[in-house]
Subunit: 455 residues, 2 copies
């Protein structure tokens, strides 16, 4: 595998994604997320900077787990208002030729047949540059927007997700054989019907007849991204994911998680190197260290504690406004851990109190992948992280648009290129071919999706 790392922009079709309060920055133009020009200019910048992908997060509800409702999230623009992530990909694809596009889509609320066609359409329009970030969703308000009383249980969401993928593999891989589309003008045969098949899926959650409506796209199955830190999520990733977004509180945590993911994948009969791993990186780059420090101070000053608490309350199910300041975070986490994945709150030291958590909530230097300084200093840090964890790349957190990407491209990319850690030009081919050294455009033969192909 190449030493070149994967760099992706962590994005969302919204004002405030994960840097709460920063919309107030005087140079931030996030309110233009409703404009085509906003996305096209960002895509051109990312392609000029040789990024792998723009990775679009998504939610299907409001964060209402803090102060008994969504008001804080609404006031602070915490992922609301937001728009559909898939619909901005075509306009970015129109002005780029190599940048990849990853959209988050949930297996819990919408029928697989419709999603299968949308994903195929995007893979066609982008000429094989589409990736799907598989999620099962986590906001209670999302469940109530789709007719449920509350979220499905974690286990049931994953059972449903496995069957969802099975339906999709049947449509993407099994319904249309290679060469089915012949376009024989003189013979009057556009598609050979003997090579197009119904799928007749009858499962626990879904019944889908087929055939798939879309002809095969360059990658058929989009590159499969996933983030899942629970044992169930980890097993799901080991089976299905090609790129895994890993979490952790320290470099050894990451190293262990990454080793674990590779072991899981091999347990499903997949070759070593079948899965690439990404972490979330917070990089504040400047012309000088002082310049970077000045930016960090500005970002800290503009960060909104209320915004972060609303965000954390939605993600973890823990409403910190409800607890006394001297309660132990370990007790607070234990009180909800049976129903929620409390991983976002798991980085507190033993003995940390709710008061400590409230004070720390705006700190963006808590994860191990935080670096601030010149391009050289940041590249040093990145090189160290990779050596210690074996990670393959990063999703970059944005503070300001424009700003964060420009700084990374100007200061950090040249330093990484000098060290052979960053591409100097794009390879041709699909996103999957660029993601894996020896990759073909379609899923490798040992991926479970390949089992649904007809020979």
């Amino acid at each position: 595998m190449s030493r070149e790392l994967s760099f992706n922009l962590f994005e969302m079709n919204t004002v405030g994604h994960i840097s709460q309060g920063l919309w107030r920055h005087p140079g931030n133009t996030r309110e233009r997320y409703t404009d085509i020009e906003f996305w096209q200019s960002e895509a051109k910048l990312l392609e000029a900077g040789l990024f792998d992908t723009v990775f679009l997060a998504d939610v299907l509800g409001a964060y209402d787990g803090y102060r008994d409702g969504p008001d804080t999230a609404i006031r602070e623009a915490v992922q609301i208002p937001n728009n559909d992530p898939m619909l901005v990909i075509p306009v970015m694809a129109a002005v780029t030729s190599h940048l990849g596009f990853v959209a988050t889509f949930s297996t819990t609320y919408e029928p697989p047949f419709a999603f299968a066609r949308r994903a195929s359409t995007l893979d066609h329009l982008t000429k094989g540059r589409f990736g799907w970030n598989i999620v099962t969703s986590y906001l209670p308000n999302a469940a109530r927007n789709f007719g449920l009383e509350d979220e499905l249980s974690h286990e049931e969401r994953y059972l449903r997700a496995h069957e969802y993928l099975e339906v999709l593999y049947k449509l993407w891989e099994g319904s249309w054989e290679d060469g089915a589309v012949v376009r024989d003008r003189s013979g009057g045969v556009y598609t050979d019907p003997a090579r197009v098949h119904r799928i007749d899926h009858e499962g626990t959650y879904f019944r889908v007849a087929g055939p798939h409506l879309s002809e095969p796209s360059p990658q058929r199955t989009p590159v499969l991204f996933q983030a899942g830190s629970s044992p169930t999520g980890r097993a799901f990733a080991g089976k299905h994911a090609e790129v895994v977004f890993v979490g952790g509180a320290s470099l050894p945590d990451f190293a262990a998680s990454i080793e674990d993911i590779h072991r899981e994948a091999e347990g499903f009969g997949r070759a070593p190197g079948s899965v690439r791993t990404l972490g979330s990186a917070v990089l504040i780059a400047g012309k000088t260290r002082a310049d970077a420090e000045r930016k960090a101070e500005e970002f800290e000053r503009l960060s909104s504690a209320e915004g972060y608490l609303a965000y954390a309350g939605g993600g973890s199910g823990i409403d910190l406004a409800r607890y006394p300041k001297d309660a132990l975070m370990s007790d607070v986490i234990a009180s909800v851990a049976t129903t929620k994945d409390a991983s976002t709150m798991s980085r507190y030291a033993p003995g940390a109190t709710v008061g400590d958590a409230l004070r720390e909530v705006t700190r963006f230097d808590r994860g191990p992948f935080f670096a601030l300084g010149t391009g050289e200093q940041i590249a040093d840090a990145i090189e160290g992280w990779v050596a210690e964890t074996g990670i393959d790349g990063f999703n970059l957190r944005q503070f300001v648009t424009p700003g964060t990407i420009e700084d990374f491209v100007e200061y950090v990319v040249p330093e990484l290129q000098k060290r052979g850690l960053y591409r100097t030009s794009y390879a041709e081919g699909t996103l999957r071919e660029r993601t894996f050294d020896a990759g073909a455009a379609t899923l490798p033969g040992d991926h479970p999706g390949a089992a649904y192909r007809r020979r």
Copy 2:
């Protein structure tokens, strides 16, 4: 109301929409429907020709009502392969500033909450140029792709559609008040939470909490298009639709239908002129009449009877391959009329047999809105149709891409412009403002959707 007529291109994200067999035409490039460039070049051409909209049809299944399966439709490229219609709108919007975009979307198979956000996203990205063609779907295979044994009954589909619209109005019109988004940087308020509301819809078919995730788009509710010829469909159109796609076998039929639509709308308390009507027009234009005749002969020669029969079998539920050639069409239609809308087969003369129907199936000159000749001759015909029916405009059928639009723009548009029947430049504003003389960007106050607004 202006005498200017509305012209729209009848399109679909597919190879063979309604001109079956024409993909074999040597100059046809329909197989490029998977490319961004195909859609952008078409959109630029339509905007240069001052079209109102590109009107994208859609289906969610294969036409398998002929010869016991989908093989004929697959071989003849009858609306399969096809891709999602909404995902090509952003790329067309990126290269135009006035052209409107109408996408077909069904109220039967996908949850309203997700569609509400997709529609708002498109209305944002197009800056208020989005229209929605409301359908309830009709292919049995579509039902089986979404977990049902067979289609819902006609009545139940419409009951569901009414409630679907109610949910959407609550999200689009009622959830976010005007002025809710304040973007107050110094005060730290992006959106005033007191002006964003849950909808808490609890109905027969849907339960949706809200709030809507998207902030208000220029039109809020997209311009509502609908085609429904049954009494139930007509009543639905009278209540909800702003533009109605009308059918009929003769000019008097159209005149009666159009009068009826206006009466229905007024019955729901809507002002006269609240609904505009469109018919499907087949125009074959040439530099000379002989030139147009040569084209028509070529189109006829390349038409595929098998393709049309597969198409008609899916649309009507009548598989003509199953009946003896001497059976009367009136008997055949009566045998299915209880479960299907047989309107597509209703144009046969009394005494016509299955053999007559098979011979006629490729004829594209059967409807009353057929004209062939020079621009002047076609403009004469159009002027006559409008005078006799009171219709407001047309969806143009395509035979070849490129070809049909170019001919219309070159030969017919200048003649219509001379007579004051076609715009000579676009008015500014949203699609709704351009569709109605005195229109605002959002729904008029007497539209049922406006009742969900908060004051």
